[in-house]
């Protein structure tokens, strides 16, 4: 797969194949990012589509100081947060909907093979947002601290510190639960 910058140049020259290639390259991880936020596959699909569309619409917004990948992640994260902000009041008003779903209904849980990983998903959810984001972006999305910093809008060092505290928190929780 060519570098993103080459694909982008082709996209800007009207190359539909390059456009498709960029979407295919990142659609799964962006969907996963959205799913992690909104916990619902249909909503995650909608956010994924919106995030790509917005990222392409605002291509000029990232030029010069970021990669397409981090730009796309940033947009997807903002879209997810925005979605949650809009949805939250409705959920709070609707007790039935607000009830915590049973573990077996978790959209993430359906894809998780081991019990430990399933439990880890729940423990990650208990982390403060900054730690949760950095831990998942680092381990599951395999991003560099530099990329993470750009996506969550902090320095590389802050991303590292949040990762450390996130892992330490998980270590304590997992130790308590007998996972480690």
């Amino acid at each position: 797969m060519p570098e993103d910058s080459i694909l982008l140049e082709k996209v800007e020259a009207g190359d539909r194949g390059a456009f498709d290639a960029l979407v295919h390259k990142y659609q799964r991880e962006i969907y996963f990012l959205a799913l992690r936020f909104v916990k619902n596959p249909e909503d995650a699909e909608e956010i994924t589509q919106q995030a790509f569309a917005k990222a392409f619409e605002k291509l000029s917004g990232f030029r010069g100081d970021a990669s397409f990948k981090t730009w796309l992640y940033q947009v997807a994260m903002n879209q997810s947060r925005s979605f949650l902000r809009k949805r939250r009041p409705v959920l709070e008003l609707n007790e039935e909907v607000a009830q915590k779903p049973a573990p077996e209904e978790s959209p993430l849980g359906r894809f998780i093979k081991s019990e430990a990983a399933l439990e880890a998903v729940e423990l990650i959810e208990e982390l403060p947002e900054k730690q949760r984001n950095v831990v998942t972006l680092r381990i599951l999305h395999e991003l560099s601290y530099r990329e993470i910093g750009k996506i969550v809008d902090c320095t590389e060092q802050t991303a590292k510190v949040n990762f450390h505290y996130g892992i330490e928190n998980l270590r304590k929780k997992m130790k308590k639960n007998g996972l480690v």
Binding site: A13, E57, G61, A117, L170, K175
Partner: protein
């Protein structure tokens, strides 16, 4: 043996693979001597392995196979899909003040130039057999000016438009409206007043707005275009569309 707390952060970096090489030796030496930190290394490794064992779930095959088409179609609806001539979708939201003015000035001048062309073609006949409403949006590369040249061009454009706003067809311009939000650019209150007085908003999307702008005579347009001889930077924008 130093305080183990001082090694905690290094242990996370060590297991994560981000500990600077120069620090690895000291940490490994400490780990050899300290059972507690050895255990911390093993536990940290186990935590990262467990988290790493979470699979990244895929969306439905139908969604994955159709996503690119759906995104492309949604861009097309907004007339923002990639096209062969390489249109840039929108001005940067990080555009600084003078660039916003530059963009606006460039579009104004482009509008003037474009309308002059249309006017000429109208007089000569055949090119206007096509309905203006169906006129294709063209992609135009336009080079921007130095700050001083831009100021001059903008002033000229404004003056010319004010001088005779009604002779020509309306032109539809699309600009990134948020790029010229008061307080976020160097635009003066006069600039905003002018915008308010001169344009009429005809349709808005989430991030942009379509503007109707009335233009100038052919001669005046020529004068403005002449002022753009010395161009320095490249600024790309989509050409205006005639809407009436």
């Amino acid at each position: 043996m130093g305080s183990c707390e001082n090694y905690r952060f290094m242990i996370t970096e060590y297991v994560d693979g981000s500990l600077p090489y120069a620090a690895v030796g000291a940490l490994e030496e400490h780990i050899r001597e300290c059972a507690e930190c050895r255990r911390a290394v093993e536990e940290t490794r186990a935590v990262i392995d467990i988290v790493g064992s979470i699979d990244m779930p895929a969306a439905s095959a139908e969604f994955e196979n159709s996503l690119a088409d759906r995104i492309f179609d949604s861009l097309k609806e907004k007339n923002m899909e990639p096209v062969e001539s390489g249109r840039v979708y929108e001005f940067s939201s990080r555009t600084t003040g003078w660039k916003a003015i530059a963009a606006l000035a460039a579009m104004l001048i482009l509008a003037v130039g474009f309308i002059a062309t249309r006017h000429t073609r109208q007089q000569s006949g055949p090119a206007l057999s096509e309905s203006p409403k169906n006129a294709q949006t063209e992609d135009v590369k336009l080079e921007a000016l130095t700050n001083d040249e831009l100021s001059l061009a903008l002033e000229l454009a404004l003056a010319q438009i004010e001088a005779d706003p009604s002779q020509f067809e309306n032109i539809e311009l699309e600009i990134a409206w948020k790029d010229i939000v008061p307080g976020e650019t160097d635009m003066t209150s006069e600039d905003y007043s002018w915008l308010d007085e001169t344009i009429s908003r005809t349709a808005a999307t989430d991030d942009s707005i379509f503007i109707l702008l009335e233009s100038v005579t052919e001669d005046e347009a020529e004068n403005i275009l002449d002022s753009m001889d010395d161009m320095e930077k490249e600024l790309r924008t989509s050409a205006p569309r005639i809407v009436s």
